[in-house]
């Protein structure tokens, strides 16, 4: 029997505190993935009055099975690495909020972060490290059938597709990993890829090639997911001939990449065409005192180790910004 224990969740030295609306924070970090947590450690060590708002400590790392490219660990599972990150942050007294997400930001000498429950937090700087989330296909039937055959987490939901037929949409690392997890249990897996080849790492493509119950549809896209209460079929278009055909299936796993969690900042900050926040080499956005780090930004290559480095940079940049502000 396996146990994915997060001992850090229960750490006795819990020093997370509640936010107070009357307090003026030096910095508030939005997001607690690798970038946000690293920023938190740097800010606390610099002695800043710091707050951290997040949906999930660990961000995408918490949903990752194994990590083999974060230096210091030849192999570590996602839960364990998050635990270690959390422990390092929790040695400090930091204000923490995980129940209510951020709704919007207001810029000014003193900045305001409005939470969805209506609370308004005041801070001199903001570090946005809100990461990314799974992208949806945005086709008919998708949202209605979530949890009824449409899925985004293969390690969570693969057990419900034992001896069934499933489609995996996307030929990048997450798509091929999902196809591997599903090929172990499903009767048949069809991987649909928009391009004419898979873009996943070779090591994963080779692993998937070992399964005999997997077929591939290159240069095809899904245009609709059909079904009454549950997924029954998918409409699939050949990108060259534009012909659409219907395929029977029990499930559709959508793994077409990620979108930045940046909508709460869209009125305030400049973004690229992918809605990633534009930052310079100092993690500085187009607004003074607002910094961004990690997967939510335009910085190329989304990796844990890069996000950590960016988080550190954003924290140091925020610190030096604060030092250069006139004393009140």
């Amino acid at each position: 029997m396996e146990f994915n224990l997060s001992a850090g969740l229960f750490s006795e030295g819990q020093k997370f505190e509640s936010f107070h609306e009357q307090t003026l924070y030096d910095t508030i970090i939005i997001g607690a993935g690798p970038a946000g947590l690293t920023a938190a450690v740097y800010c606390m060590r610099k002695g800043l009055k710091t707050g951290l708002i997040t949906k999930q400590v660990g961000g995408q790392v918490a949903d990752t099975a194994g990590i083999e490219n974060y230096l210091g660990y030849r192999y570590i599972n996602g839960t364990e690495l998050v635990d270690k990150f959390r422990e390092q942050v929790m040695q400090f007294s930091i204000a923490f909020e995980s129940e209510s997400p951020v709704q919007s930001l207001q810029d000014g000498q003193i900045k305001e972060i409005v939470l969805e429950d209506g609370r308004c937090l005041k801070t001199r700087t903001i570090i946005i490290a809100s990461g990314k989330q799974s992208k949806q296909l945005n086709i008919p039937g998708e949202v209605r059938l979530i949890g009824h055959g449409v899925a985004y987490c293969a390690i969570c939901d693969a057990p419900f597709f034992v001896n069934k037929k499933v489609f995996v949409v996307g030929g990048g690392n997450s798509g091929v990993e999902a196809a591997i997890d599903l090929a172990k249990v499903a009767e048949h897996v069809t991987l649909i890829q928009r391009r004419d080849h898979l873009t996943a790492d070779k090591i994963l493509i080779d692993k998937l090639a070992d399964f005999e119950n997997v077929s591939y549809l290159f240069e095809h896209i899904v245009t609709e997911i059909k079904g009454g209460n549950d997924v029954e079929s998918v409409m699939i278009q050949n990108k060259k001939s534009l012909l659409i055909s219907e395929y029977q299936t029990d499930g559709v796993f959508v793994q077409i990449g990620l979108i930045p969690n940046s909508s709460f900042a869209e009125k305030l900050l400049d973004m690229n065409k992918y809605n990633e926040i534009l930052v310079d080499g100092y993690c500085q956005t187009n607004r003074d005192g607002i910094f961004a780090a990690g997967d939510v930004t335009s910085v190329p290559y989304k990796q844990i180790i890069i996000a950590c480095g960016e988080g550190a940079k954003a924290a140091l940049a925020a610190t030096s910004y604060l030092l250069n502000q006139p004393k009140e």
């Binding site: 994915n4 229960f10 918490a62 949890g147 419900f160």
Partner: protein, 213 residues
């Protein structure tokens, strides 16, 4: 072979050392037609061997009918947590809480032991108002990282209001229930067989559904 290796045992010990008061794990099993009952029994016994504050009571679903009726147990393996005065906390686990669910199991044991969690006042007021019987079932798979949060939210409601009973239901053990409740994505939360939602939602989503009952 032991259920927990030495490293996990040590980690469990650091967590369980934080228990405030005693907790009783009431474990229900049956001799036949239960493939996971034997492992379940070893699981609870090993957990109890790690902390002096954990007591275990073993019952049979069939022959100890008074007990299974008392706690409303209808399938096995099942775990019910009791507080220091042996009061039912209404936090139940159907199936062994392995994989990621070890976290919800530990969280609920600490909660049952009296380790308090700060609940924001407006939420607490809504929980206190629940006046009708509420049964929350949280369907999980053991490889699901978001599922423990969904279980713990349900269990918190059960602990805070005696009208609420909350279950973790492990879907590979209770496959027939996964089929009956049409579970093909987890966590799936079903409230009084009337309302359901998918995903680890904040506690307000549970309260919204409960207030509509």
């Amino acid at each position: 072979m032991a259920i927990f290796d030495e490293k996990t045992r040590q980690q469990l010990k650091t967590v369980l050392d934080q228990m405030k008061n005693e907790v009783t794990i009431v474990f229900f099993s049956q001799e036949i037609e239960c493939q996971t009952c034997r492992d379940g029994k070893r699981f609870v016994n090993e957990i109890a061997s790690i902390s002096d504050k954990i007591l275990v009571e073993h019952y049979s679903l069939v022959t100890d009918k008074d007990k299974s009726d008392l706690y409303g147990i209808d399938k096995v393996p099942a775990i019910v947590l009791l507080d220091k005065d042996k009061n039912n906390t209404r936090m139940r686990f159907y199936g062994i809480p392995g994989g990621y669910e070890i976290n919800s199991f530990l969280g609920s044991i600490l909660a049952a032991s009296g380790k308090e969690e700060a609940i924001p006042k407006p939420i607490k007021a809504r929980i206190d108002k629940i006046g009708k019987p509420v049964h929350i079932q949280v369907f999980v798979s053991l490889g699901c990282p978001h599922c423990p949060n969904a279980v713990m939210a349900g269990h918190l409601l059960a602990l805070e209001n005696e009208n609420v009973t909350a279950d973790m239901v492990e879907t590979s053990t209770f496959n027939h229930l996964a089929i009956r409740y049409n579970v093909s994505g987890v966590p799936k939360v079903v409230i009084n067989d009337k309302y359901e939602f998918i995903g680890a939602q904040p506690i307000t989503a549970y309260l919204d559904a409960i207030e509509k009952l």
